[in-house]
Structure formats: C-alpha cells, structure tokens
C-alpha cells in the first residue's frame, strides 16, 4: 500500500488478556517507530527499529510490552497481561531511514475493560 497500515483499527480486550497490534510500513522504509497516544496528549515514543533490530526500546513502559520486526518490514507490538491503563491509541510510523521524514498510520485504538 501507499501508506503505513495498522491493524486492527480498534481492539477491545479484557484486563489480563494478551494483545498483538500489527504495523505494515511504507515499502522500502527501514526505520519503524511505535508511539502511544493518550487522550489529549502528544504521541509518546515506545520503540524504534532500524531494519530487524530494536535500535532504541527505552520508551517501553515495562516488561509487559514487547515488539518484533523479524524480516525488517512488518512489526508487531505485543502487550501481555493488559491493564486498564494500557488503553490508548497505538501509532506506528516509518521513515526511509532514521532521522528522515516519518509517516504515521491511522493508529490502533486499544481499550482494556
């Protein structure tokens, strides 16, 4: 596709469950970013991939959060034992390489009930 694609658009899950959020970046973009956006706030950085490896995971809030990008394209953000505080919009962005223009997907709205 032409832009960054995120699936699902919306996800409702019960507290304690495991969820996976998928990001399909723009073709040819080597850098991929995950952000989390709470209501009325700016995006907060979670993790940055350059190719297959996590170049910076300093924004992951705790060890319940994990992300992978095994083939250097699609990435999956995984959240274990979800908590109500994890409810937010999870945004993915990609860029041709780190430090260049970043383009965002439409986000996945996660609601933990």
């Amino acid at each position: 596709g032409a832009g960054v694609s995120q699936t699902p658009s919306n996800k409702v899950t019960e507290k304690g469950k495991y969820v996976e959020l998928r990001c399909d970046p723009i073709s040819g973009h080597t850098a991929l970013y995950w952000y989390r956006q709470s209501l009325g706030q700016g995006p907060e950085f979670l993790i940055y991939f350059q190719g297959t490896g996590a170049a910076d995971d300093s924004g992951l809030p705790n060890d319940r959060f994990f992300a992978v990008r095994p083939e250097g394209s699609v990435s999956t953000l995984k959240i274990q034992r979800t908590e109500r505080g994890d409810s937010a919009v999870y945004l993915c962005a990609s860029s041709f390489r780190g430090g260049t223009e970043a383009f965002f997907g439409q986000g996945t709205r996660l609601t933990v009930v």
């Binding site: 700016g42 995006p43 170049a55 223009e101 970043a102 997907g105």
Partner: protein, 111 residues
C-alpha cells in the same frame, strides 16, 4: 522532563486569521523540527519541517519560523480556513533519534 513545550493548548480564530503556535526546546542537539496535523480518529500527518540552518520555511499557507538562539520555533497558518481545524503537534529530533512531541494545540477556525 518535557523536552518540547508547546503553547497554547487551544486556540480559536476567525476564518482568514493567522493562528500562531509556539514551541520551545531545551536540547541544543536537536536538528530537525517538524509540525504534524492530526484530525480526530486519524494518525498525525506531516505538515512542514525545518532544519536549523534556515530561519523560515514556507509551504503553501503554512510557515515555520525558527529562532535558534532562543531555542524556539513556531507555526503560522495564513488565511486560515474551517478545514484547518485540527490538533497540531510540534516535534524535534537529532541524528537518528525518534521524534519527541509537544502536547499539542487544538485549533478551531470559525467561519
């Protein structure tokens, strides 16, 4: 510690007015300063960006002014239209580091 401080939090202007949104930063290593526009239910969309080697950049009705000594940059929207009503975010980064975002400004342009 908030690395990029954005103001105002919200802004209402008449159609045709020139809203100005300001951002201040502390990290002098920052060398890339984009602005994003976000509509409800959508992801942020890159609007315009500047690097510190210039003091101003214009793209259509959008202008970034950059003051390196004051560590501030601002977005001006000329001839604002109701369709410009959205939330605007400034951001900053350096090298390959991820973008750091301000908290956003909710702009309403009323006819």
């Amino acid at each position: 510690q908030q690395q990029v401080k954005q103001s105002p939090q919200s802004l209402i202007v008449q159609k045709g007015g020139i809203p100005i949104i300001n951002c201040a930063y502390e990290n002098t290593a920052f060398d890339y300063f984009p602005w994003y526009q976000q509509f409800p239910g959508k992801g942020p969309a890159l609007l315009i960006a500047i690097r510190p080697d210039v003091s101003e950049k214009k793209e259509g009705r959008f202008t970034i002014s950059f003051n390196k000594s004051a560590k501030q940059f601002s977005l001006h929207i000329m001839d604002s239209q109701p369709g410009d009503s959205a939330t605007y975010f400034c951001a900053a980064s350096w090298g390959n580091t991820p973008l750091v975002f301000g908290k956003g400004t909710r702009l309403s342009v009323i006819a």
